[in-house]
Each structure stands twice: as C-alpha cells, then as structure tokens.
C-alpha cells in the first residue's frame, strides 16, 4: 500500500505517446490505481518507437521512454473496436474515477466512449481529453507533435539569438502539457470531494505553451509591441547572461537586479578596475552598456570552472548558477543528496537510470515509484477477474476471440 494522496482513486488510461501517459503516471505516483488500456490494434507509439539510447526499435516491453512514462501502472489488453471489449470498458468506467485520453479529437466519440456516454455510465467520473488543439476549432485536424505546437504556440519564435532562427523545442512540450493536464484533473477531483459530481476537461497542449508567454501577450495586447527572440536579454537586469568559463563549452549564468547585488559581484570578482567605470554605476546604465559589460564579466569568469565561479559568487550572495550539462546533473552533489536519480530494474528492458519523477517532496503523502512499467497486457487477467469478476475460463475465451488482445 502506498502512502500516496489519492490511493482510493482508479484511473482508466487510454492515452499514448508522452503527454497523456505522463498525466496518468503522475496520478499513479500519488497512489492511484491506473489501468492502461492497450490493444494490439493500436499499440502505444512509445512502446514501438525508437529507443532513445539505441535509436532502434527495442521491442514492445523494452523502450526506456515508454517505461519511464508508465511506471506504477497496470496494463490490460482490451480491444475497443470489439463489441464485447467496449462492454468490458463500460463496466470499468462504472467503477472508475478518472479517464485520461489523448486521441485525436473525435476518436473517443467514434468509439462510443464520448463524455456524454461516459457521464451516463458514471456521473462522478472526471474525464480529461487532451490534444494539440483541444476538442474544437478550425485547426483541430492538424498533426500535433511536440515541436509543432512549440512552433504554433509562439515559444519557438521567441526563443533564440536575436540574429538567429527560431528554436525547435521538442518533447519538453509534451511533458509540460502532461503536467498541466494533471493540474486540471486534480482540481476536478478536489471539486468532486465537495460536490460528488465529476466533470469534463477539454485540454489543448498548444495553449498550455502559449500561456507561458503571458507577459509577451500582454505587451502585444496593451502596447501593440511584437516581442521576439532576444537571447538571454532581460528588460531590467544586467549582467544577465551565460558567461564562458574555463574548460570546453562550460558556462555560468549570472543575473544581477540591483546595486547591492552588483557590489556583491564586484567584491567577489576582486573589485577589478573596469567595475568602477561610471558607465556601470547604476542599474540603468549597466543595462544600457550590457554588451560591453558582458565582455568584461566574461574576462573574469573565464578564469574559473563553472562550478568554481558558482561557489565564489553564491558565497557573496550573487544569483549565479552553472549551466549544468547532463553529466554535471547526474553527478551533482546537491541532486545526489536530494535523490533525483534512481536505478530501475526492468524484467525485460534491464537496468536503466531514470529520474525520480515527480520531483515533489510531500511530507505526509510522498509520491513513490512502486514498480516499473507493465509488460504489454501484463494485468489483463487481473483486471478482468479481480475488478470485473470474470472467470479465468471466460478470459481465455475472450482472448481467443480477439477481445482481450
């Protein structure tokens, strides 16, 4: 029994790819019983996609991305296109609390599992449909891979060097979308504690990225200004950039917001002559001369490794953090002490390092990883017999006729 906050909640997970499975994985990490509904008819693309570490398809139970995104879940093979399969699903819906799905808009309706049907079966259920565009609108049919909605959300255009192209941003978009959907699902569950009624959540991944540009949208709507790529520039702060350190492709980020922080930086840097230049005397003038200032700051940072510069400047109270590489992160003493990484041991996929996700520390109801991702259909019999009361004989028969494949 986990100590999670929502251990009496049962979730039917019809999702695939990354965003939807993550939402359901977050629910599972908090103790919910999550049943991933799978079928040979439509195998989760991350089960059969290229393995991130080999670049080749790795087999249905071995893909590291799939296994990271589906921890703590059960897997039941139920063919939704088979009439008896649909009947079993409806019985599951009656005894569940949440549905998470991220098919293209309209697919659940065509399968006979639209919210209208679901609500009839179980008015207490919280159903979340997430897709790139949400469930309506003229662009609803557009393909929605993560980099595409990074582009159509506005984030790509606004990220990059001033004189360079927009930036392609990939699966992080799906992860943010999955986290944001989780917020909505949890809010609906909290509401149900008061009202005893479920509800429907219509979620757009693209909008979950556009909203992160709220301040730039305000600038356009209030002032007609079209913000675009500006590197690491800040409207007020200077220095405010990543500065080269000793070593290969090694950097430290430094951000200074006021005179106190500037003086602290100068002291830590040994009060170099250039720091007394009247052109750097105030926050406004430092901001105005920030390009020159960047060169001078870098002449100091280049004498140190990124970790040394971070320690020196943090000791003086300056907001300075190394640009941590994957290698840095994995060996970082702080993250080691926080337990950010774990070793997973998958019966088919073997050992792999993974992130201890979600990264929240809840003192009373910690999120936990109880077990690795399920094998394809691993819990079909468990779900059919324990939850739906079928006999093993019935399960065998339904499997033979294709309902449970």
């Amino acid at each position: 029994m986990t100590a999670g906050a929502i251990r009496n909640i049962r979730v039917l997970d019809f999702s695939w790819g990354m965003a939807g499975p993550l939402t359901a994985a977050l629910l599972a990490s908090a103790g919910a019983e999550v049943i991933k509904i799978e079928s040979e008819q439509r195998i989760d693309m991350s089960r059969i996609g290229a393995d991130p570490y080999t670049g080749k398809p790795s087999g249905i139970n071995k893909n590291a991305i799939f296994n990271d995104l589906n921890r703590n879940k059960l897997s039941a093979n139920i063919n939704l296109k088979h009439p008896k399969g649909l009947e079993l699903i409806k019985r599951l819906i009656r005894i569940s609390d949440v549905i998470v799905e991220n098919y293209s808009a309209g697919v659940m309706e065509r399968l006979g599992l639209g919210y209208e049907v679901v609500r009839e079966l179980n008015p207490r259920i919280v159903m979340s449909s997430s897709s790139t565009m949400g469930g309506s609108g003229p662009e609803v049919g557009a393909i929605g891979y993560a980099p595409l909605f990074a582009a159509s959300s506005g984030l790509s255009d606004m990220t990059g060097y001033r004189d360079g192209p927009p930036t392609e941003i990939r699966y992080s978009m799906d992860i943010i979308s999955g986290y944001t959907t989780f917020v909505a699902v949890m809010a609906a569950l909290v509401s149900r504690q008061d009202t005893d009624q479920g509800q429907y959540v219509d979620f757009s991944s693209r909008e979950s990225i556009s909203i992160l540009l709220g301040d730039a949208i305000m600038d356009y709507n209030l002032n007609g200004r079209i913000q675009s790529r500006n590197g690491n520039d800040d409207d007020v702060m200077a220095p405010h950039n990543c500065y080269r350190c000793a070593g290969n492709d090694s950097w430290i980020s430094i951000a200074i917001a006021n005179d106190d922080e500037w003086r602290a930086f100068c002291r830590a840097a040994g009060d170099p002559d250039w720091s007394r230049d009247p052109g750097f005397a105030s926050q406004e003038s430092r901001h105005e001369h920030r390009e020159e200032l960047d060169r001078l700051v870098e002449s100091w940072t280049m004498k140190y490794s990124h970790y040394q510069a971070m320690e020196l400047l943090q000791a003086a109270g300056v907001a300075a953090v190394a640009s941590l590489t994957p290698q840095d992160l994995f060996t970082d003493p702080h993250l080691q002490e926080r337990g950010a990484f774990i070793l997973m041991k998958h019966p088919e996929g073997g050992d792999r390092f993974s992130v201890n996700s979600p990264p929240w520390r809840l003192s009373e109801t910690p999120c936990t990883i109880e077990r690795d991702a399920p094998l394809f259909g691993e819990h079909t019999e468990h779900v059919c017999c324990k939850l739906l009361g079928l006999s093993p004989e019935e399960v065998r028969q339904l499997t033979e006729e294709g309902t449970l494949k």
């Binding site: 557009a142 790509s156 930036t167 392609e168 909008e207 007020v236 990484f341 809840l362």
Partner: protein, 416 residues
C-alpha cells in the same frame, strides 16, 4: 460575439473547481505567484501578502501599459495576480508577524518562496505553523528545494533555467554552437515551475479534504525543470552520450525558413509522413518520384543535401499556405507564429483562449485565460489584481476582526 468581462464575483459551483479554498500567498515574481494564479483562476480565494512599500518585484517589471512604469501599471503583474486579494504586512515586525499568523491560521494553504531559514527566522516555518493550524498545507517553492548543499543558493529565472539541464541544451540544433546557452522565451521556465508546484499542491489539498491533515510540499525549481528534459539527460548515464546544443537537431527536419518566416516540420511514421511533407511543398523533378526517397537510410545519408533541397522548396511558400496544405494533407508541419499571430490565431480565437477584458484605466484588451476548459465552469475575471495593500482593511478588520483602532495602530507602527 465575445462578452466583455468586468470583475464578476460568482460563488456558486460555476465559480470553479476550487471555489471555497482559501490561500495565503507570500511569494513574488514568477513561480510562486503563477502557482497561486492557477489556483485563483480555478476559483480559490487567494490573499496575496506583500511587503509594505514596494510590494512584489513584478509590479516594477515591464510590460507597462503605454510603457509608463507604475506599481499598478504592469502587464506582467496583471497577468500573474488578477483574481487575487492583496494585503501588506511586515512578517519581521512582531505585530505584523502576529497578523500573518492569524491569516494563516484561518487558511487552507500557504504558498511561500523564501530562502530556507527565512521563514524560520520569522518563526513562521512549517513545524510552527502546523501546530497552529493542523490542516494547513504549506507549499515552498525555492530554486533548489528545502534540503541539500545548494538550498540557500540564489537564482533568478535565468539561473533556474540553467540549473535544470534544458538550459545547457538551448537552443537545440544551434547553428552557433560556440555561443552561450540560452533560456526559453521570457520567464517561461519559471511558469513551468509554478505549474509543477500547483500539481503537487493539489495532491496535498485532496489529502487535506479527505483526512483533515496538512503537510509540507517542498518544490525545487531545479528538479521541476529537470523533469522536462529527461530523455537527453539520461543519454549520459545510460549510453555515455553527452548531448549538446549542436547535436540536438535532425539532419533534414526541424526549423525551416519559408517565404515570410519559418515553419517547423518532422515525421514519425516513415515513409507516410515524410511523403506527406513532400506533397505539401511540391516535389521538384530531380527527386520527386525517386524511389530512394522512401528509403530512410538513403535520406539520412544524404541529409545535408536533402536539407538544402528542402530549403529551396519551402522558401517559395508562405507559412499560411504551407500550414493550410499541411492540415489538409495530414503533414506534420506547423508555422512558427509570432506573438501577434498567436493572439490573432483563428484556432485560439475560436476556442475562446482569450477573454475580452474591460479595464477601468487600460480600456479593452484580450487576456490569455487557460489551456483547460472545465465543463462546469468558465474562466472568469472575478477581480482586477490588487493595488498594494488594497484589501488591508477588508481582510484585517472584516475577516480577522481587528477594531478600527487596532488597525490604525498597526499601520502607525509599520506592521502592515
């Protein structure tokens, strides 16, 4: 026709899934205020606590309406703090601390973002607060969390973004790998931390409603961002491959210039989605019908040449043209929209992503609401963001029951 919104205080179920929840927010700038904004927008009553005098940093941050700075003129502050009440007090003043303690004693949730130890110095740390209010949830959002050697390190949004791994790899597919790593646009990384914190907080609220028990929720912005970046990161321990800004691109997909800007394209299902792309941009004779183009290995091998050819084909089309054809032809191509195009996007307008706000001083403008639509409630502007200390009297006298004399006395002593 969209209805123009003025503040509208509805307290029925339509007021949102979190109606009835009372939150004290003692945080500033982006992550903490965004976390409580998400909860406020879903109906929670948020009392924002600011220090007397200057208040939240974001009051002094652009964009300002008409570029005129002023504590109530920041679009950033508006975006983050609409739908909240606002009070001022000094938690380090003994009387101010007492007022804050009384506020917290009556609340369901405290959201704070102070460096670990600061709340302890004010004798307002979790262990003390839980004795006053056993059902209290405290969410602490800090750059590196409550434990570990960096717990007291300082970080602005730029620094946090570089602490989480995505920073070192931004911009991906960089044509300038010798240039410094970047942040994502504006404060987007810190907003993400607010989303993550809101998710964790709602788990604690669910538990509180079920059992009456409070708890402490420790959010590290570094780890919140780390979780957005796991695939590239884990290539290191699992494969010994160190990703960097240059290696992160595709050979012949990604960002592509076109006639009036840029698009992004890619493909998963080979060769169908690749063929769909060729169809959208039109296939120049020399390789249009070439069977070898269905062979992924051949394409990878000739990636650089292929990319050049693709560039020539894309640049004769506008992004609108390409996008329209892509939707019809089921090709994975999307335009890189600029901010004005996002605001005017037919899709987002049709979805009602923007609410029309009628502001007493700024006039009408469109406000980005929320990426989720609940079937039982719509996003609503219940109140404009608070002026500094706007609700002191309402909260301190009406909610906490201070007399007029006590209130004046506290103000005189600089406690509130």
């Amino acid at each position: 026709m969209k209805e123009t919104q003025r503040p509208n205080r509805d307290t029925s179920r339509k007021a949102g899934p979190l109606a009835g929840l009372t939150i004290v927010e003692f945080s500033e700038f982006i992550a903490g205020p965004y976390c409580s904004k998400l909860l406020a927008d879903m109906g929670a009553k948020v009392i924002k606590v600011e220090l007397p005098g200057q208040g939240d940093i974001s009051r002094r941050r652009p964009p300002f309406k008409g570029d005129a700075s002023g504590p109530d003129n920041s679009g950033l502050f508006f975006f983050l703090n609409a739908n909240k009440l606002g009070v001022t007090l000094d938690p380090f003043h003994p009387e101010g601390r007492k007022v804050l303690l009384t506020l917290i004693a009556k609340a369901d949730l405290l959201i704070e973002d102070k460096t670990p130890g600061v709340m302890e110095d004010a004798e307002l740390d979790f262990n003390r607060l839980i004795r006053v209010n056993p059902r209290l949830v405290v969410t602490s959002i800090t750059p590196f969390g409550q434990t570990g050697p960096y717990r007291n390190y300082r970080a602005y949004p730029l620094n946090s973004f570089q602490s989480g791994g995505e920073g070192y790899l931004t911009p991906g597919a960089s044509p300038y790998p010798r240039r410094p790593p970047l942040k994502w646009a504006n404060y987007s990384g810190d907003y993400v931390c607010g989303v993550s914190a809101a998710g964790a907080t709602l788990l604690a609220i669910f538990h509180q409603k079920a059992t009456g028990k409070g708890q402490h929720v420790d959010i590290s912005k570094q780890e919140a961002l780390l979780d957005m970046n796991t695939i590239d990161l884990l290539r290191w321990p699992n494969r010994g491959e160190l990703a960097n800004r240059a290696t992160r691109g595709y050979k012949f997909a990604g960002i592509m210039p076109c006639k009036n800007g840029y698009v992004d394209f890619g493909f998963h299902r080979w060769p169908d989605e690749w063929q769909a792309i060729l169809k959208v941009i039109g296939t120049p004779g020399w390789w249009g019908e070439d069977e070898r183009l269905k062979d992924r290995a051949f394409c990878e091998e000739h990636g650089i040449e292929l990319k050049k050819r693709l560039e020539d084909s894309f640049k004769v089309h506008t992004k609108e043209e390409i996008y329209r054809k892509a939707i019809d032809g089921h090709a994975a191509i999307a335009p890189c929209l600029q901010i004005e195009e996002v605001v005017n996007s037919p899709q987002m307008q049709a979805r009602g992503f923007f609410a029309e706000i009628d502001h007493p001083e700024w006039g009408n403008f469109q406000f980005p609401t929320s990426p989720y639509r609940f079937s039982e409630s719509a996003w609503t502007l219940r109140r404009l963001p608070p002026r500094l200390g706007e609700h002191n009297e309402e909260i301190y006298c009406q909610r906490l029951g201070l007399s007029r004399e006590e209130f004046d006395e506290l103000r005189k002593r600089g406690a509130i």
